[in-house]
């Protein structure tokens, strides 16, 4: 029984404790984690940005190496064409001695092709070039000054081009996609003229996505890019002072080889990254870095090359490990460690508080258990003492006042003791939910009188005037034992705490199937703040109030519990002086 008592008690305490635990541990921890994660995310974003900038600068480096190569090549070809003779033999010699070149072309100021010669013997390689560079022969006007070209092109456009069907949006789109804005070296002609020639050049060009226009702004040299076969083909062109245009077609494989050699850093130390150079088809031209990206992996950053290799791009991949390293996994770990430590401290604190509070509870429970056990053992001998005491009281000779007084004390004290024991046992049964009422027909006033009779001697001996105003004479169903226990607790409280008030007024009243009894005293009363607490078990009021008074602290709790079980309640009702308890019971009338 004792065991059951304890466990049921701690069970009922658990949810509350858990809630406290959650409040102490989980809530602050969650808050901290939230703040930490937010901070980490912000930092991650920041680091990501910085990291991407670093990667970008790396591929921008590679891009600038490629740019350098192209401008170096441009310079070389400028120098080579500077002094070159313009005969077919000279141009062939130029091609033969220029490693970067695969073929050459020459246009006269009128745009007529002088080399490869239209008449006269040509080699197979030159024949192939003529086919390969078909685009150029159609597009050749763009090598000439816009003022010259626009007139020619205007007529070309009228006579040769099919009617224009490009919509404005298409046109502007393709213009932005295909066109390259050059670093104009010699711009001649006004803005309007340039624009006009621009448009005309656009119109005159075949509308193929594979065509890249060379600037129509006047330049004396530049790159011309077009697609042939597997990729982009480059031609360096230069308009000489004489008006001739000389062009050198680059050997594509050689260009690629040079780009690879230039782009690949000498010390390819990228332990966690991979840079790839992709051509216009998206094929890998070359790559470096020790990291091997998975198939389909997206690059972290990408960068497009400039004209004329604008269809190529550089991509930088990184392993997640590298990224984490940059992000500072250490930092993250530190933060997590800090949070974990804080969590531990909180848990420790919570455990400490839990142990403290549960120790109190346990101690009280142990006390009750002990008392409960003892009470049971005490009950039988006490009943015997009481029975024989009462027998003795009845059989005493009337003249022996002294003996009668002594026996009276024995009886009242044994009654008090049995009430105490009854309370403890009721409480124990309540804890086990083993309490059942046994209503029987009777008169409530009689039951009150009965209890009052028991208490009167003790109360009066302490100078308490007891008055009873009966108002519940009807025959109703109620549990007399329960009522006796309720009233007993209330009266004994008056005896214990309010005896100096000198009066106890009991009234009863019946209203339908409800019976209410008030017990008012003139004692010190109960402070407002503790009005709810008096009904809690093991609650006793201040030391001042309870000084010198013994008790278990469960009397009111038991009273209220029994009253509620009886379909009513025990309430503390406001009064002018002292305390006034009202007991309300559901007492169905006998039918």
């Amino acid at each position: 029984m004792a065991k059951a008592f304890r466990s049921s008690r701690s069970d009922s305490m658990k949810p509350k404790l858990l809630a406290i635990f959650a409040l102490i541990v989980v809530a602050p921890l969650a808050l901290l984690v939230w703040i930490g994660v937010r901070g980490a995310r912000e930092q991650r974003g920041l680091v990501q940005k910085r990291f991407d900038q670093l990667l970008m600068s790396r591929i921008a480096d590679a891009k600038s190496r490629i740019d350098d190569l192209l401008s170096r090549r441009e310079t070389e070809l400028l120098r080579a064409t500077e002094s070159a003779g313009l005969t077919t033999a000279d141009l062939r010699a130029l091609v033969r001695t220029t490693p970067a070149a695969s073929q050459a072309m020459l246009l006269d100021p009128e745009g007529e092709r002088l080399h490869p010669p239209a008449s006269g013997p040509i080699s197979n390689a030159e024949r192939e070039f003529l086919l390969r560079a078909e685009q150029i022969w159609r597009d050749k006007h763009i090598f000439f000054r816009p003022s010259d070209a626009s007139a020619r092109m205007a007529s070309d456009a009228q006579t040769q081009s099919p009617p224009q069907t490009i919509t404005q949006s298409e046109q502007s789109q393709s213009a932005t996609r295909r066109r390259f804005v050059p670093r104009a070296e010699t711009v001649d002609g006004g803005q309007g003229q340039t624009f006009q020639s621009d448009q005309l050049a656009q119109q005159a060009a075949p509308r193929s996505a594979a065509v890249f226009k060379v600037p129509s702004v006047s330049r004396s040299h530049g790159w011309y890019a077009w697609y042939w076969g597997n990729g982009v083909q480059l031609l360096f062109w230069r308009r000489l002072d004489s008006g001739h245009v000389i062009g050198i077609e680059l050997n594509r494989a050689r260009l690629m080889a040079d780009v690879i050699a230039a782009a690949t850093p000498a010390e390819a130390t990228l332990p966690d990254g991979r840079v790839r150079l992709l051509d216009s088809k998206g094929d890998v031209v070359c790559q470096w870095g020790a990291y091997r990206p998975a198939k389909g992996e997206k690059p972290r950053v990408a960068l497009r090359l400039d004209y004329p290799l604008h269809s190529w791009r550089l991509e930088h991949f990184v392993s997640s490990a590298a990224f984490d390293a940059a992000f500072g996994r250490q930092q993250m770990a530190n933060m997590m460690g800090g949070l974990a430590a804080l969590g531990l401290v909180l848990v420790g604190l919570a455990v400490y508080f839990y142990r403290e509070s549960s120790r109190d509870l346990r101690e009280a429970a142990q006390r009750v258990t002990f008392v409960n056990q003892v009470s049971h053992e005490l009950k039988t001998p006490l009943t015997n003492i009481r029975m024989y005491g009462e027998l003795l009281q009845e059989n005493l000779p009337d003249d022996d006042e002294r003996a009668e007084q002594y026996v009276g004390v024995i009886c009242s004290e044994s009654q008090r003791l049995s009430r105490l024991i009854g309370n403890i046992l009721t409480f124990a049964r309540k804890q086990r939910d083993a309490l059942k009422l046994r209503p029987a027909l009777g008169c409530v006033d009689d039951a009150i009188r009965n209890v009052l009779d028991h208490f009167r001697p003790a109360l009066e001996s302490k100078g308490v005037q007891v008055s009873f105003a009966p108002g519940a004479p009807a025959l109703v169903a109620f549990d007399a034992d329960a009522l006796e226990q309720i009233l007993g607790n209330l009266f004994s409280n008056v005896e214990k705490y309010a005896a100096n008030g000198g009066a106890m007024n009991v009234t009863s009243r019946q209203d339908g199937d409800r019976t209410s009894i008030t017990v008012a005293d003139r004692g010190p009363g109960i402070p407002e703040a503790q009005r709810g607490a008096v009904f809690e078990p093991f609650q006793r009021l201040s030391d001042a109030l309870t000084e010198g008074v013994s008790g278990t602290g469960i009397g009111l709790s038991i009273a209220r519990y029994l009253a509620r079980l009886h379909g009513g309640d025990v309430r503390l009702v406001p009064s002018h002086a002292g305390a006034c308890f009202e007991v309300e019971l559901r007492t169905p009338a006998a039918s």
């Binding site: 062939r92 033969r96 001695t97 220029t98 490693p99 970067a100 695969s102 006269g120 013997p121 040509i122 080699s123 197979n124 390689a125 030159e126 597997n230 050997n251 594509r252 494989a253 050689r254 690629m256 080889a257 040079d258 690879i260 050699a261 690949t264 000498a266 390819a268 991979r274 094929d283 890998v284 031209v285 070359c286 790559q287 470096w288 870095g289 020790a290 091997r292």
Partner: protein
């Protein structure tokens, strides 16, 4: 029997004229210009072969050889693991051993990416270079194009005309990163050849692309080898060094200007540029005591009997590696005409015709590979059978052991067209083709 006994032909095939400014006692490349048929049938339009043979002079000692500027480009892709990479490393170490302090060497390895293991440097510390080579480990895919690109860039750092500039490329697999078509590699080869860099390609095992590897070598005038087993690498590298270390002339430009009426039909073997009447061929280098030649088929118009007709003027310029001068050789060719079939046969220059037969057979051999690639196995076999009998016939006619041997090769090729041995046979055929076409020492 010997063609030199026909003294009266001497005035026809005019002697070599030395125009070079080099000291008279200095060694010169030997120029041998000859027609397949110095005496032609009269009154008939016909074709004959014009050969410009160039034989490198003898290199007396190793100290005379020009310094070498060499890059070893090693495939270290995953397929090279095990014996292959070990043997390749051994071969590379052997190369380092054979070179001297005057030489420049660099080592480039490639898998998915390219690493310049040893940047181009004068070979003063062999030990350090060898340590680097020993550390190579295989793994990854094959960025062949990038390997060659980077290798060529290393050679370019010390590019000099008086050095032997060479890339030695070893690969056992298909190029799967970067450009990978034979055409592109050929283009690259043609471009580096203009700088005087030759790329020697060594195909190892049966996994490499022989078209790509042979094209790269052909267009850059480098050697091409097929090493079936890793064990063959030592021999191949040794042979390659045998060439590299005996270069006597570089930047050899052969120019043949055909006389009016003579029509150049095609080049046989070595690639030539024919523009109008002018035939130009470039050889990157000549090796000591080895003959390389330019062979052209020309069409000669009908000419009356007993006439002498000017066929072509030949001029050759080259960089003499010993004297470090640019030397120039020139010669002219003429043909006589006769009605007598016998004289035509008797006067035939066997050496030239045998070379022509070899080259024509090689063209046929290429044709057979092409047919086999298209799946026309029977047709390919037929071509090779005809080729065999064509070679046998001429072997007998000109008493040539070389032609007989070559006929046997054709027979083997025909047998190898089917069955599991085809992959290997194709590599052998490609290797033989480029070796014959470039007169690579085998």
């Amino acid at each position: 029997m010997d063609r030199f006994t026909h003294k009266r032909l001497a005035p026809i095939a005019i002697a070599v004229i030395f125009l070079a400014a080099a000291p008279a006692r200095a060694d010169q490349v030997k120029l041998n210009v000859a027609l397949g048929h110095p005496v032609l049938k009269a009154d008939k339009k016909q074709t004959t072969y014009l050969k410009v043979g160039l034989t490198g002079f003898h290199l007396a000692s190793d100290s005379e050889r020009p310094p070498v500027n060499l890059v070893i480009v090693l495939d270290k892709s995953g397929s090279m693991q095990g014996d292959k990479i070990r043997k390749a490393k051994e071969a590379a170490l052997m190369v380092i051993d054979r070179l001297s302090r005057r030489d420049i060497v660099s080592v480039v390895t490639y898998c998915d990416t390219v690493q310049v293991l040893v940047p181009a440097t004068r070979l003063s510390d062999k030990y350090a270079v060898k340590q680097q080579i020993r550390q190579i480990q295989a793994g990854g895919s094959t960025a062949l194009f990038a390997g060659v690109s980077k290798g060529a860039a290393e050679v370019r750092k010390f590019l000099e005309r008086n050095k032997v500039n060479r890339v030695i490329l070893l690969s056992d697999g298909l190029a799967n990163v970067g450009p990978s078509s034979p055409y592109e590699l050929g283009q690259l080869g043609a471009s580096v050849a203009k700088e005087g860099i030759s790329v020697t390609t060594i195909g190892l095992g049966l996994g490499y692309n022989e078209d790509l590897m042979s094209q790269l070598a052909l267009k850059s005038d480098g050697n091409h080898y097929f090493a079936e087993n890793a064990a063959d690498l030592a021999r191949v590298f040794d042979r390659e060094l045998g060439d590299v270390l005996t270069v006597v002339a570089q930047k050899v430009v052969v120019r043949i200007v055909c006389a009016p009426g003579i029509r150049p039909v095609r080049g046989l073997g070595r690639e030539v540029d024919i523009t109008g009447q002018t035939i130009t061929a470039t050889l990157n280098q000549l090796y000591s005591d080895q003959e390389k030649y330019v062979l052209v088929e020309v069409e000669v118009p009908a000419t009356a009997a007993n006439q002498t007709r000017h066929i072509a003027d030949v001029s050759v310029t080259y960089a003499n590696m010993q004297t470090k001068t640019t030397d120039r050789l020139a010669s002219a060719l003429a043909a006589r005409f006769t009605r007598s079939e016998d004289i035509v046969v008797r006067e035939t220059n066997k050496d030239v015709v045998v070379n022509a037969v070899q080259q024509i057979a090689t063209i046929n051999n290429r044709k057979a590979v092409e047919l086999r690639d298209k799946g026309q196995i029977q047709e390919a076999k037929q071509v090779l059978k005809l080729n065999t009998s064509f070679l046998r016939l001429n072997a007998v006619k000109f008493e040539s052991e070389a032609l007989k041997d070559y006929a046997n090769v054709q027979e083997l090729d025909a047998k190898g067209l089917t069955g599991p041995g085809w992959a290997k046979r194709r590599k052998e055929m490609r290797a033989t083709q480029s070796q014959v076409e470039r007169q690579q020492k085998r």
